[in-house]
Symmetry: C2
Subunit: 148 residues, 2 copies
């Protein structure tokens, strides 16, 4: 429950689940095909105890699935669930913001879309296809909308 | 500097700047027109000492600007810089993911685009306008691209 006065909001809900850098870096690695604990630790730079805790939480909240890939000895790897795959737009927009504002010089990685052009993600309204300009989106509490 | 073996990546760079839930909730409040410390504290639920530290960092990294709105007594409020405004797509995709995966029942807030339809943000390729399907974006280290 949010504290009294705090805004009830899906952004806060999302951040309670994945609102720390290690969790999103884990999701990044899984989305890039890195599935084993040691490799995830190496590629994220996360301390092993932190990574263990984050993976457990991500499994608990349904973003990540733990899969046994060897029975003797028992060995596990990690995969994104559909909820985890659905974080792709968050990672893409974060990456673009990082390219624009958090990197000195040129971005370290070049992304290319299957159309042949550099992949620059843009967010648009799924109904009309237009980019949402500042001030073009209004917000209402659901109760207020239900009363109309 | 990332630890040896860690992936050099703009997502990690972005998360070093805004990779904690309070920072993104602060950016949310500023984007909604809430500019004063006490109001930001109330609407985010952030402890005041945490909020002070986060605001200072956000100012240091250029996401937030502190503005004196009263000289006697000195009083300050907080505004998004252009870099802060550019976080809108991150907040929008986080909100959509929260609506889909981190909220029990119906989303708490209804967003409407100026086209008259519910605002559901979707990410597309800015060059061709298509949604990037899984597997449709390839990534290469910049050095590799430069050598081609």
């Amino acid at each position: 429950m949010p504290p009294p006065g705090a805004r009830v909001c899906s952004i806060a809900g999302a951040l309670e689940v994945i609102g720390d850098r290690w969790s999103l870096l884990v999701v990044r690695e899984l989305s890039l095909g890195v599935h084993r604990f040691n490799d995830i630790a190496l590629r994220t730079g996360a301390p092993r105890d932190v990574l263990t805790a984050r993976l457990r939480k991500l499994v608990d909240v349904g973003v990540v699935e733990r899969r046994e890939y060897s029975a003797r000895p028992p060995r596990f790897d990690y995969l994104l669930t559909q909820a985890g795959l659905d974080l792709a737009p968050v990672l893409q927009t974060l990456r673009q913001w990082g390219d624009d504002h958090a990197v000195d010089g040129l971005p370290p990685t070049v992304f290319t879309h299957s159309c042949g052009q550099p992949y620059v993600p843009r967010v648009h309204c799924s109904a009309c296809g237009e980019t949402a300009l500042p001030g073009s989106v209004t917000r209402s509490p659901r109760e207020a909308v239900a009363e109309v």
